[in-house]
């Protein structure tokens, strides 16, 4: 034996040494080692500090169920991963790992004082103690607690790695490549089924990797599966969640184990849809609950066997065993066969199978039946244990340098539970086993409860003569929950295991109770004096083990976080210095500053240009729906408040759309292209919603109508040309459309060609000026835009953005749905009664407009506001009161919805929703804002050209 490495045992490659560091100190291991096995081989027992009490902790298990040995790994800037299990970190040349949750060092952790003060930190301590004063929570209590308790540090830099993903479909998915999983896959190897076999470890085999007797079978099985063309094998791949319809999420770690990770993706998210799923997740050995069970060097018996036979590492020179189950005896015998001296076997049972006793005698191992470990000596490493008979008598010390514990086995039901399969209590196992499947899924092997590991007894906590209220016997090692915490929760009235879990944190968070759930449940059931099945089991939630955010996000970051939709003209806007703003998924030109202008200067200039000459605006994002069919007019008549049937082809109409509840949800202008064809526009943000709403009515309410809806938002580039010189600019372009006012009046639409491409030319205005909206096929939008800009040069044509559009429309009293309305505004509230077809029998929302609440006086109305100080621009969202001297909390009448500086009027203007606003005309109201309370007079909403003379030219 060299250090704790055992010659001749294990699957690690002795020919390949690997150097790595842990807390800055250099160690050597072999290829095939995990960080845990390599450190154990070097005699390291102390791996970390516990969550709350900062107790020294070692490794407790050999797999992902280990709850203690959480470490951080760093591989350069931004590549810092906290909370990795040392048992699942494969070593590579140059690996840099460090321990967590300690200061200043792992061996000397000042915060271990928490352990001495433990009696002051019972379960629920934080909730009880740090309630008052409320204001202290964010600034003092929470930061302090977070510093003292917790796991690894959060990364602080942007992760430079990239992550990939794929969907994959198969007929059979096998999760877990232990014996049962391998057999399930082998049964279909070479068949016509598509099979996927995944395992979280670096090698297939599961427990078989720890059992040399199975090595030959394992090698043959792996070779058969590797050769089978229909089987896809994914190692280092964790199935973390089971979702509806046999959809399983898995993350494959591609580069974390490599010394040179290269430039490829770090991890791959597999989204697997499987015909059938076989869960072969295995079972996890249960720790026993006794004082000192968290001392470094106390670990699961099966883990000790894995260290020896898979990694060639002895956990000590004279380990002892504390068992309540036969499997621990077998592990101890296997250890002895491997050359490790077993100092003693202690079993809580009074009698065990004679064969076990004979084998122990043959091996010369001292056996103590009907006894329990009642204490462990050593702080950073086991130096011995104290045992006593279950009656409390016969206390004695046993010298040993490690302690194995064997508390029986818990089938791993995590994914089964995610799939909503039911579970049943198995008294002989002292654990839940799968019962009825909810999906096409079955469990195989140990996770189904089929185990051949002997028998055992279930003891919530080992008997001890010590005062149970003075000892710490851990149940949930990761969350620092002790047996007495669970007792306390029950005494304080928590009777459901779900409540006990939340109160004590047992089985929560990243660990998901892999080693603690059943022990916690047994303790709670015992304390409550009720059968386990009546206490229940907490729900397992995805992920099975923690996964990186990177794997789940994939490419959805930076520029690809979400599609940023751009119009064809966006590039021109960018070239011409536009500042952009996001409007739903689109980015739109906000304003076009020139020569260092700020936004207000730019917007004032753009507004002047439109009012005095001509402006050009990219309105391509407007939602557009082509409504076609013999019943097109009837359909629109039912959807919108306005009448549509008499609208002549070639004419346009403003349409107002309500929800069933009578509140405004969208608006827009529609043109009748032909008797059975309408070109309907919606707001930019409402496009998808309005189309979905229309389809919903069409398919569910009026399936008899012969009408079809086609989204044409992206078919058309829409160029708004607005201003008194708009017609002059358009006339200079090549078009076959008669633009004269007589032939082409306001609110009409003409089809023809412009600049050599087809056009739907609308004469409409959202500015109050003579205006046209030029719809050309989107691919020609940029070319036509440039020709219009060129043709407009003699008139000083000015590109303008959404801000100027907002100001111009507000001067005219045009609302923007979603800004001036908030889903509680009716047409009457908005002063849009004129848009309601009074003779119409019905339209969506009509009945709601007669509801008592909708016709009651005092509703909030949309009105204009003119500030007493004309230079003051109110804040949008500012609250409005009648009397600023009233005591706080004041009665608020409403709020400002839109507010701008109007260059045309030389003063500020605003819209507001005000209770009873239409009856308050000319009344002075008050708007408290930071620094001062401002006065404003209620007015109508049309501030500019109320006669509309400028439009009809």
């Amino acid at each position: 034996m060299s250090g704790y490495r055992v010659t001749g045992a294990g699957r690690v490659d002795r020919a390949r040494t690997v150097a790595f560091t842990f807390d800055g100190q250099t160690y050597q291991g072999y290829e095939g080692d995990t960080l845990a096995s390599a450190l154990l081989a070097s005699g390291v027992t102390l791996f970390g500090r516990s969550f709350k009490y900062h107790r020294p902790r070692g490794v407790m298990a050999a797999g992902v169920e280990d709850a203690n040995a959480l470490v951080s790994v760093t591989r350069g800037p931004g590549r810092f991963t906290p909370n990795l299990r040392a048992t699942a970190v494969e070593i590579y040349e140059g690996l840099e790992a460090s321990s967590q949750n300690r200061w200043p060092s792992l061996k000397t952790d000042m915060l271990a004082v928490n352990d001495r003060l433990g009696m002051f930190f019972p379960a629920g301590f934080y909730n009880k103690t740090f309630m008052w004063p409320r204001s202290f929570w964010e600034k003092l209590y929470e930061p302090t607690i977070r510093k003292m308790a917790g796991l690894g540090n959060s990364p602080t830099e942007i992760d430079p790695d990239h992550y990939t993903a794929a969907y994959v479909h198969c007929d059979l998915l096998v999760v877990g490549a232990g014996r049962a999983g391998l057999e399930a896959a082998l049964a279909e190897a070479g068949s016509d089924k598509r099979v996927i076999l995944i395992d979280e470890q670096n090698e297939l085999g599961g427990w078989a990797l720890s059992d040399p007797d199975q090595a030959q079978w394992l090698a043959q099985s792996v070779a058969t599966l590797t050769a089978a063309a229909n089987v896809r094998i994914l190692t280092r791949c964790t199935a973390f969640g089971f979702y509806h319809d046999n959809f399983v999420g898995a993350v494959e770690r591609l580069t974390d184990h490599l010394a040179q990770p290269g430039s490829g993706a770090r991890e791959k998210l597999w989204r697997i849809r499987a015909g059938e799923v076989v869960l072969a997740q295995g079972a996890i050995e249960r720790p026993l609950v006794f004082e000192g069970n968290d001392t470094p060097g106390v670990m699961l018996a099966s883990a000790a066997r894995t260290w020896l036979y898979r990694y060639g590492v002895a956990i000590g020179r004279r380990p002892a065993l504390m068992a309540s189950h036969d499997s621990g005896w077998q592990d101890a015998f296997a250890m002895a066969a491997g050359g490790v001296t077993i100092s003693a076997i202690v079993d809580v049972r009074d009698t065990v199978d004679d064969a076990l006793l004979r084998q122990a005698a043959d091996l010369g191992i001292a056996v103590h039946l009907g006894s329990s470990v009642i204490g462990v000596s050593g702080r950073h490493k086991v130096t011995g244990v104290e045992i006593a008979a279950n009656s409390g008598t016969g206390r004695k010390r046993i010298a040993c340098d490690a302690l194995m514990m064997a508390g029986g086995w818990t089938p791993t039901l995590h994914l089964w539970s995610h799939s909503k399969g039911t579970i049943a209590w198995d008294e002989s196992l002292g654990a839940y086993v799968p019962d009825k499947a909810n999906e096409n899924v079955r469990c195989a092997g140990a996770c189904s409860g089929q185990m051949d590991l002997g028998t055992g007894v279930v003891v919530p906590a080992l008997p001890t003569p010590k005062d149970a209220s003075r000892i710490k016997a851990f149940v949930d090692f990761q969350n620092d929950v002790t047996a007495k915490d669970i007792g306390l929760a029950v005494r304080e009235g928590f009777k459901s295991i779900e409540h006990v879990k939340r109160y004590t944190t047992n089985g929560m968070a990243t660990d998901q109770g892999k080693t603690s759930n059943i022990n916690g449940l047994q303790l709670a059931a015992t304390a409550l004096g009720r059968p386990v099945v009546d206490v229940g089991l907490t729900t397992f939630r995805p992920p099975y083990t923690p996964q990186t955010f990177g794997a789940l996000a994939g490419h959805a970051k930076d520029a690809l976080f979400q599609a940023t939709r751009k119009t064809g003209i966006d590039g021109w806007a960018q070239d011409n210095g536009a500042v952009f703003e996001p409007v739903s998924q689109w980015r739109r030109a906000w304003y076009f500053p020139q020569d260092g202008e700020d936004m207000h200067a730019a917007v004032n200039r753009e507004c002047r240009a439109v009012r005095e000459s001509v402006g050009i605006f990219d309105a391509s994002t407007l939602g557009k729906i082509e409504v076609v069919g013999p019943d097109a007019a009837e359909f629109l008549n039912r959807m919108y408040t306005n009448p549509w049937k008499m609208l002549e082809p070639g004419r346009c109409r403003y349409g107002l759309l309500l929800r069933e509840d009578g509140f405004i949800t969208d608006d827009g202008v529609a043109g009748r292209i032909s008797p059975n064809r309408f070109h309907v526009t919606t707001t930019t943000g409402g496009a998808a919603r309005v189309l979905a709403m229309m389809e919903d009515y069409l398919q569910t309410e009026w399936p008899d109508l012969d009408v079809w809806l086609t989204s044409t938002t992206e078919q058309w580039s829409v160029i708004a040309l607005q201003g008194p010189r708009a017609r002059d600019v358009l006339s200079a372009l090549d078009t076959d459309i008669d633009l004269s006012p007589e032939a082409f009046p306001h609110m009409s639409v003409r089809l023809g060609q412009i600049c050599g491409v087809p056009v739907r030319l609308f004469r409409v205005s959202f500015t109050g000026e003579l205006g046209f909206e030029i719809n050309v096929p989107a691919e020609y939008g940029p070319a036509v835009w440039k020709q219009i800009v060129a043709a407009g040069q003699p008139y000083g044509i000015t590109p303008y953005g959404t801000e100027t559009m907002h100001v111009l429309r507000a001067e005219k009293g045009y609302i923007i749905v979603g800004q001036d309305t908030d889903g509680t505004v009716t047409p009457m509230d908005a002063g849009l009664n004129w848009a309601i077809g009074k003779k119409k029998k019905d339209f969506v929302g009509k009945r709601s407009l007669a509801r008592p609440d909708i016709v009651a006086p005092g509703r909030k109305h949309l009105v204009g506001l003119l500030t007493e100080d004309p230079s003051l621009v109110l804040e949008e969202g500012a609250q409005i009161v009648a009397d600023p001297a009233q005591p706080v909390p004041m009665t608020m009448l409403g709020h400002v919805t839109s507010s701008y500086w109007s260059e045309a009027l030389g003063r500020s203007i605003a819209f507001a929703l005000v209770a009873g606003g239409q009856e308050r005309m000319d009344e002075t109201l008050h708007i408290p804002m930071p620094g001062a309370v401002h006065k404003a007079q209620v007015s109508g909403m049309v501030f500019f050209d109320p006669e509309g003379a400028r439009i009809n030219v």
Binding site: H162, T164, A165, A166, Y167, V168, H169, R194, G264, A265, R271, R273, G554, H555, A556, A559, L560, Q562, A563, T564, R565, K566, T567, G568, W586, E626, V628, G629, P630, S674, P675, N676, R677, D706, V707, W708, T710, S711, T712, T713, E714, Q715, W716, A732, L733, D734, C755, G756, V757, V776, P777, A778, E779, Y780, G781, P782, A783, V784, Q787, A791
Partner: protein
Amino acid sequence: MSSLSVSTSPLPDEPFAADGVRVSRSAALQRYSLRARDPAKLAAVVGRELPGRIGGVTDGIAQLGPDEFLALLPVGTQLPSGEEEPVSVVDISSRAVGITVEGEGAAALIMSGCPLDLDRMAPGQATRTIYETVEMVLVRESETRFHIEVWRSFAPWLWQSLRLSAE
């Protein structure tokens, strides 16, 4: 003024290639959305045969739903509008752009973000589907060649996503 309107695409001219797959901008197409309760009436209006089942493609016309067809035809092909008939014929040539994905790795690249089981999609099939969050119409032209139709403003996002996934 002379007519100088040239067509522009939101996608780059240059294709990209990676391990066993090549992605390129498709040639321009004449596109129509065709709708009708009775496909026979629609076939009569457009004067063409329609696929008999959802997912089928006949002479460039794909059936996407019980009453929905997408025609992908050579540029310049004009279909009658069927005014007065219980049908809807809408020119959407400019609404989408086409992306061609071809090579041994074509299906795998598309499945990096598309939840469909492409092993079960035979050549000559078409369907509306998604790539991550973006809607598209997918036409399988052969075992190793796919045509993607994606709305114009989503095309750059899809192109870049395919490009990253192909790396």
